[in-house]
Symmetry: C2
């Protein structure tokens, strides 16, 4: 028979997966002799079994619970349900990963109509006893039976009104006794049966409720945000109650062994005498800083501060400790690694190395890569933020804080930005044509689109704060105003956008620039030393490239070239090309673009100073270069400019219209139908590479990447076009140069025929955005409409556009890596989708043997740290 229940003294810190974080730490503290109220842990396996058994606790588990309870009773010298001296317990969740506040807790369990009297007598404090009981009824009703909390709250308020008092603690024992009676009636009316008097029934129902709380919506949401699989389940900790509210010699508090905001090596905490934890939270009285305890309770302080030192050394990390003093005796209720700011995390990790407590590898593992974002971007001043008026919340698409005047079109935003105004660009959704306006904005705001929409991807690339898919916004481009509920904001009104939280505020909120400390540099050096995976960046301007190189990028993994077609002077030529009837006309139009693109590439090669660059050929469908049919004025303007008629332009727009452009005429399909585009781009890249090599002496090996390949024949066909052009360029320049032609792997068919495709490819780069779209059949621009239902129903645990779906899309990656390397063992393989900056995905990429990840510039440090952690974990597992 499996063991589903462990006494605290039976476990230790190594059993975290089975006992959960809280349970393992309670066991460990017991083991090293710290003053922990005794108890036991029902394991995570029991939780998993509970769900497997159709939400039932198996009899064998129930037996083990009772037997553990009995052992603890014996130790405490009290008996569960004893009318004179009742043994009371708390029931708390505790998963493998810390999920603070996400699941449910029940205190004072074991009280009933009889034992409450015993407790009153024993404590000589009827008020305390009845207050404990009414709290227990309320918590049990809420957590176990889902009775509306408001009902109890209203009863309490009525009682206070009747008594003419305003504070809870002004009610006396009799009042609370009467309130208990009322609470029990509420319970009966709502549940349809009496409040359970049998403590064992109370206990089993509470344990089941904690199991259930693993699947409550906020827990599901938290897991999704923090990459915690639902299969882990939660443990349940049943622990003897101790009371900090038994008089002036009792109290309760919380402490961090170091400062969680700054990392300073000094205990940081608060405590309150004659109180329970709940009271601290409720803010009825103001807690004291822990320093005060030195004088007030010097012995307890000494004992506590010794324990913090023991715990920090024991766990070799900053600890977050809960304690209670019951009638002069100190109890430790919980210890865990303390949550901390990014700044603090970096400082603590580095300090612990300097203090000899951690190795460098261990320090690297201590910092959550996702946190680094806030180190690199400006943030709003915390105090000002607290007072700010929230307008709406959207998706936190690109971190950082930005404020300015609203502008509704990219052109006007760009003009205002050039005039020196602080601008916030607001659009239903952005298109590649908006690029200049986005670049001049302090922040970007859209009503539609998801985390990988155009606005999100481009803003992250620029390091510009952005909130997208904010569906509460009703934007009117013509009136140049946006409605949110009853409020209206017009062009020029000021707003503040927090891209890290997705929140939008009224007015200008002052922001604080990011500061990068020396500690950060040391930590990243340790990370770089240990990692195997290279980190490149996605960039298509010299400026972004320089930024990324400063952040440690080792090259460009994805240079998207579409923006090189969109700038005002060029888009006219692109449109001429689209309207051409013959290849000759198209070539003439492309020849106008060639010098611009060549100059762009020269700038990029220079910024890279010899680091490698993978250039992707034109990818989007051509209709993106023409206005939409409804944009009557623009069409007229463009038709005039190009010397054609509105009808002809509209005909062309109709002709290019696609029902599903994501699966339409784009990527390498453009090179097949219009080889002259690929020829022009090849010429621009290779001529630029030759020129920069000649001027600067860098050793350049251009990597030319064909997107959207589905078959080997397709790659061969386009590669022939590219290589023939390269031969021409070499001949014209009377020189040669090493180069590689490779392909994006982003079409499912390409993954399962990667052995064939590798015959023609010098490298693979996974385009996991498109692979996720086509592998799942989810249009990233539309999926938002149903994915929320998928998360809330538990069908999907994570956003597959943010974290790679390892079990499905990841399998495609694995298959393609295996097949590709079977054909060509030396094949260089990377990933350049949006997932390249997600720490979990980076770990996956390390594990499946990729050579590099590529991500937007501001994510480069995150990827470096995540790559290092993956390498260290692999080393440790060996």
């Amino acid at each position: 028979m499996s063991k589903y229940v462990y006494l605290f003294k039976e476990g230790d810190a190594s059993m975290r997966n089975l006992l959960g974080g809280k349970g393992a730490n309670l066991a460990e503290m017991s083991k090293i002799g710290l003053p922990v109220p005794q108890g036991f842990t029902v394991t995570t396996e029991a939780c998993i079994r509970y769900y497997q058994d159709g939400r039932k606790v198996a009899p064998e588990i129930e037996e083990q619970i009772y037997s553990a309870l009995h052992a603890v009773e014996k130790e405490a010298g009290k008996v569960f349900g004893d009318p004179e001296n009742p043994f009371l317990v708390s029931v708390r969740s505790g998963a493998r990963a810390s999920m603070p506040g996400m699941m449910d807790t029940i205190l004072n369990l074991g009280l009933n109509d009889v034992s409450v009297e015993g407790l009153a007598n024993l404590s000589d404090n009827p008020r305390f006893a009845y207050d404990s009981y009414r709290r227990f009824i309320q918590m049990f009703a809420d957590v176990v039976m889902e009775v509306d909390k408001e009902l109890f709250h209203n009863a309490l308020e009525n009682m206070k009104a009747n008594k003419g008092v305003t504070q809870d603690n002004e009610l006396d024992g009799d009042d609370l006794k009467a309130l208990v009676k009322e609470f029990k009636q509420i319970y009966f009316d709502d549940v349809g049966e009496d409040f359970p008097q049998d403590p064992k029934v109370q206990l089993m129902e509470a344990i089941k409720a904690v199991f259930r709380s693993w699947e409550n919506p906020r827990a599901v949401y938290y897991r999704r945000m923090n990459d915690i699989p639902s299969s882990w389940g939660t443990a349940v900790n049943v622990q003897a109650m101790v009371f900090g509210n038994l008089g002036d010699d009792s109290g309760t508090g919380v402490a961090f062994t170091r400062n969680p905001a700054t990392g300073e090596n000094k205990i940081f905490g608060e405590y309150l005498m004659n109180a329970q934890g709940e009271d601290v939270v409720a803010g009825i009285r103001t807690p004291h800083p822990l320093d005060d305890m030195k004088e007030e309770l010097p012995e307890i302080y000494k004992q506590f501060s010794d324990i913090t030192e023991i715990l920090e050394k024991h766990y070799r990390d900053m600890q977050d400790i809960e304690f209670t003093i019951e009638r002069g005796k100190l109890y430790i209720l919980q210890t865990r690694s303390g949550k901390r700011t990014a700044q603090s995390a970096v400082k603590i990790a580095v300090d612990l190395v300097d203090e000899g407590m951690l190795s460098e590898d261990e320090a690297v593992l201590k910092v959550d890569p996702k946190q680094l974002d806030s180190l690199l971007h400006p943030t709003f001043d915390t105090e000002a933020l607290n007072k700010a008026i929230l307008i709406a919340t959207g998706l936190p698409a690109s971190p950082g804080a930005g404020s300015g005047k609203l502008y509704f079109t990219a052109d006007e935003a760009a003009e205002a930005g050039k005039r020196g105004e602080d601008v916030v660009l607001i659009r239903d959704e952005t298109t590649p044509e908006d690029i200049e306006g986005m670049d001049h904005a302090k922040a970007i705001l859209t009503a539609r689109g998801g985390m990988t929409s155009h606005a999100a991807v481009v803003a992250r690339g620029m390091g510009r704060p952005a909130v997208v898919g904010c569906s509460a916004l009703r934007i009117n481009d013509v009136a140049k105003e946006v409605r949110v509920g009853d409020k209206v904001f017009k062009q020029g009104d000021t707003v503040s956008v927090d891209g890290s939280t997705g929140k939008i505020y009224e007015g200008i909120i002052p922001s604080v620039e990011a500061k990068v400390s020396g500690d950060f540099g040391r930590l990243m050096a340790w990370a770089d030393f240990v990692r195997r995976l290279k980190v490149r960046t996605n960039a298509d301007t010299p400026r972004d490239t320089k930024q990324a190189v400063e952040f440690g990028a080792e090259g460009i993994g994805l240079c998207r070239t579409e923006h090189m077609f969109f700038e005002a002077e060029r888009v006219k030529a692109v449109r001429e090309m689209i309207l051409s009837d013959t290849q000759e006309q198209r070539k003439a139009a492309l020849n106008k673009i060639l010098p611009f693109q060549q100059k762009d590439f020269e700038g990029m090669f220079k910024a890279l100073e010899g680091k490698p660059m993978t250039v992707r050929y034109l990818d989007p469908p051509l209709h993106e270069f023409l206005p939409q049919k409804s944009m009557v004025n623009e069409i007229k303007e463009i038709a005039d400019e190009l010397g054609t008629t509105v009808e002809e332009l509209n005909d062309k727009i109709d002709e290019l219209h696609e029902f599903n452009p994501m699966m339409g005429h784009r990527g390498c399909r453009l090179s097949v139908t219009y080889p002259e585009i690929a020829e022009m781009q090849t010429r621009a890249i290779m001529q630029a590479a030759i020129n920069v090599r000649n001027e600067e002496g860098y050793d350049i090996v251009p990597e030319l990447m064909i997107p959207l390949i589905g078959t080997k024949a397709e790659l061969k066909y386009v590669k022939d076009i590219v290589e023939n052009t390269i031969k021409e360029v070499f001949k014209e320049n009377n020189t040669e140069m090493e180069y590689h032609v490779g392909t994006m792997i982003e079409i499912p068919r390409a993954c399962i025929t990667a052995d064939e495709i590798a015959e023609e490819a010098a490298f693979f780069s996974f385009g996991t955005n498109d692979l996720t779209q086509m592998g799942f059949g989810y249009s990233r621009d539309d999926a938002g409409k149903f994915l929320e239902s998928y998360y809330s129903s538990g069908i999907l645990e994570f956003d597959p556009f943010a974290r790679l779906d390892f079990d499905g899309i990841g399998k495609f990656v694995e298959i393609a890596v295996e097949l590709g390397r079977k054909t060509k063992p030396e094949l260089k393989i990377g990933i350049c989708g949006e997932h390249g900056g997600d720490p979990a995905t980076v770990e996956f990429c390390h594990n499946v043997g990729l050579d590099y990840v590529s991500c937007s510039p501001f994510r480069v440090p995150i990827a470096r740290l995540a790559a290092a952690q993956a390498a260290i974990k692999e080393k440790m597992a060996k």
Copy 2:
């Protein structure tokens, strides 16, 4: 060293893959002693090598050619290039599969300025010699050097004009000698060098030209239409020339051993004395029926008719034979299985069994399944068709012939149809709302869309002729007219549509109804006896179901339910549902649809008489049930009908708009967000099944199919909804019934996680349309724009929407079958995509172990025959 060249006497019929069909048959005829002019075959492997070597003939192959030439010269007693008695040859292509007229041929090769004189002397016929030479120059220039044929044609016409004659044969030897001079000048002017005088150079250039012709556009197109892989290559046959134009004792002709139109067992052919094959084709003189030869040349006729008998018995099939009589001696130039009509093919196959020449299995293999289409559909009267005026050509989407008056909207088409008019519905593209108009039309015509567009799929299901994607049509819905070039057709003008060829004609062309003979029934019975794969149909009305059952369908593999939401009375309730704000409102609206759908299912179950039916849950995105935003009048009408405002309706249309609806909110995603839809459909199906079982006593086991599943959790979630509803229905009816819940496999991710999905699925049905779309990333509605370039450049050999892409999408199918059966060995697996009626795909499905294919009713016999052929081929391979 490999052998690349075979003398005819070195080969036989079994070497078809190496020698091509023509070469193998020439060898075989040589072997069995028939009078065949000697020669040799350059193998298909030489052709493949030619392409591998970068379009060069390797020296070793060239040597083998000369050595074979020498052997043949010796036998003929003539020498290649001999000025007195020149040895002349023909050079002809010959692939494994017959591709008549698709590749190039050169006759009279070996002539030059000197030997033409020898030939003139030898034949005592200078006119013949110079005519042969000028023809050779013209063919060589055309085929090898791509000189414009017009140049030669004009020179010939000028010569006739100067001479004041109208017929070629009115020019004498001197005229032709002068013409040869002129032709050589044309050659020099165009090519830049003299016409080659060295017969060996002529020969090598001609062989290379035949190799090249394997990749000419019409050959590529023919292969795509006929499932012939480009990797096969073509052989080249070099054969001694014999001349049918050496006088009245010479002649040439073609004969079929049985009637290719009717199958009648009687020689059928034509011949012409003193002529070459070319003259027959040119129609200068009218050839005589072969019967005349009995009296004119009784000995030759006897000899020839004996040979036809030998050949038919030898090849056990109707033969198409070319012969030449040179100065009273009969030569057989070629024999091959004769092309024949479907009717003839069936009759010949059955007759050959009755004559003891073929086994039943062999007879089944003799009929091309694709041909059956024309047996089941009406066709235009051939004579009337020859005189008809062609308007335009589109894609032959649904076979059959239909004529009538043009109508531009489905409503008007339906009304006219109800009035008894013959109607042709013409639309830019059809939508599900057009269904009633399509049903009342004799034929359907669209300007957009591909072979699997809505119009194509629905028309095939209905057995209605349709031509789609006819891009020459410029349709104006408002003016109700269509322009094609300079012509305009208005509503009520008559046209004829040939869905088998894709051609559209002016006016009404009389058509001939399909006749199904007793022979057909016998052949299909033999097919049914041998096949393992079951054949089901895709149908969603009782009428289509009955039709399919008559065609031999063994059940319904795909009952699409979307049409059950579209009929006028129902679509209002659907729109109410879409506009609902609460689940209660949605349920109320769905309750109005429930009785209709239940009745539909009852009709289907009755029509099936106990055969199985797989019902797919609602699949299309909800926006398909609302008008497009540009349809202002309809929006007003619908808003009024539903008691809402135009603004609100427009808001909803905006809200439902998707950028890529194919990858949007559809399929099982609808059941996740709106479980009440799945509940209603489940209720309708199960209640109908129970009612029909009770009324008719059929043993019904409903198969409920969830579309668009990507993950196991998704299937589990929707299956739970379905099964909970089934439990309710059982309880209400106080009965139970066996049923199966399965899933479409059409999302790439589902294929590679099929082992997990099989845990929740009773059956798989491959939706190969969507799988092809997402696996390739090709939107079927848009891909037409670039796929033509893919075919012409050879990147794709076949339309992956018509024939499954075995190497890629087929791999997904194989992976899913393997993984699914690993979890559940008894898993029933079928295919219900449009590919289910494609013979090559049916063979693939047999080979990978599927249980059934499902296709539109009119394709059921095709699939039955194809399934039988696959089984026989498998048996034979063992």
